[in-house]
Amino acid sequence: MRASGTSCVFPTVRGSVASVQLEDVTFRYPGATADTLQTLSLVVGNGTTHALLGGSGAGKTTVLNLLSGLLQPTGGRILMDGHDIGGLPAARRNVTQVFQFPVLYPAMTVLENLCFPLRNRKWKPAAARERALAMAEELDVSPLLDRRPSTLTLFERQLVAIGRALVRPDVGLVLLDEPLTAVQPELKWRLRRALRRVQRDLGVTMVYVTHDQTEALTFAERVSVMHDGRILQTASPVDVHDEPAHEFVGYFIGSPGMNLLEARVESGMVYVAGTRVGGTVLADGDYRMGFRAQWAAVADAGLPASVRGVRYDGVVDDSPVGVLRATVADKEVYVRHAGLAPDGPMHLRVNRFILFREGWRAN
């Protein structure tokens, strides 16, 4: 078993760290008619874990490629520790990447794979070997050092690939492109834990791209939700869930996603389909009201709703617990519910809600 906790477990393996900043970065693929990324700004702090979360086509991988130097921004600046790295080729940035599937050099042993980035930077064989051995120890792959990649499981290969990405002590930024995709579901959490541990021990900055909100919210200290080439919100996992800055964030994050209903504000009161649901300081007009399943409850009075179905998740105190599916003003909503589903027409009390205007949060 490895000693746990403190960051000085492997003082020799400690990497350098870097903060990363994107300033109004725009990107358009050559020949394309629209920008893939639109004036994107992002700050990733020194030694932190940052997740880019979004559906396919949101521009996550493009951001990653801009950071690694595979693509160059059409406009704006990319700063690393305050220095503009815009024009630098990939090899001269202190950036490495872990890919969706394990990328290893097939003809080399695990040890040779780990030494490769160091040897390319003119390390002496003995020093490279020492560093590689320490990295293998850190990732618990020491027994595999003489094996070839083709004899390893996908999980072991991805561990080695992470090791190769992190072996250079001058690496400040590690990019992870959906690194758990190739691994069997039951091993995903082990790999994620290994990643977290290495990140803590080495203190490197990590940017983690994923479409899986569970991965993003459990891995990263800060999460940027991307949609359509823009970052809609950058916040802590809790805030992204509880305080969405945009309708899409509310709907995309959480299971089930945030309920959204058309609402109207008239002299400080919020109405949904003619029923008053609460008060606000916002100006009069049309809004969209969002509330999470756990922010509403079945009540004697409130929003009239009709039950469509119920999904039971388990039993608490001899009472079934689940999610109620109902319709309010012909829109489907989900509400956390304990006990058996009520029959026929009922009412919902919304305890907390967020108002959005033109997509963005208004209150």
Binding site: A90, A91, F101, V103, N120, R148
Partner: protein, 291 residues
Amino acid sequence: MRTKPERQAAWLMVLPVVLVVAFSGVVPLMTVVNYSVQDILDVDTRFFVGFDWYRDALRDVRLHEALWRQLVFSFTALAIELPLGILVARCLPRQGRAASLLLVLCAIPLLVPLNVVGTIWQIFARGDIGMLGAAINGLGIDYNYTREPLHAWMTLVAMDVWHWTSLVVLLGFAGLSSIPPAYYQAADLDGAGRWQVFRHVELPHLRAVLLIAVLLRLMDSLMIYTEPFVLTGGGPGNTTTFLSQHLATIAVGQFDLGPAAAFSVIYFLLILLLCWLFHTLVVAGAERDDA
């Protein structure tokens, strides 16, 4: 575990294949084996001579020379075509219209019938009217492939390279196309140079197709007949007479069926041996590396 019931009748299903293989492969081969142990004077007059023809063939100096020439030719062709094919495949664009067009252009020599290839080069290399031959002579080099053995050899090798490098290009292109871009990206981030990308990323991924390319080219060039027959006719003298042409001279030219049959069997076993050696040394070795 319950075993499945055996139905002997299923063997009947295999019968057509067995018959086809027997009539197309086994029967002709056995006929040759039968010829090789007899001295055949005419249809009714034949004597059993045992392994005499084999003994003669193995002692035949002209056969030794043909074998030696054959090996030199095959390995020279392979040594040029393999690296050249990989080089060309690397230079081709990976996708787009240009890639398709260049691939089709590359494949053209493969579509030309063997005797036409020989004829093209026979004229192309002529010192008086051939474009290549006349051009070389025009440079002041006295080039004549019908008179100088070295010139004949160079012309033959050039023809084989022209004809078959495309095969290696196509196989190599297929192999290179199958490498995910992430490998190049990773090598770039790891600070690998161009040679290292080739050595550690491309070559390992090309191994399977290159083994096939070597096997195909080796077997094919060991059996080469038509092109040298048309281009040089084995000359000047016997300097470009390879195994198959030597065999044809004995069998069809002199109608010595017994010695020709013995030689055929030896020839067949030789190719089998080379392929077996290649398989055990290279292919099995590669598989052992993986295990």
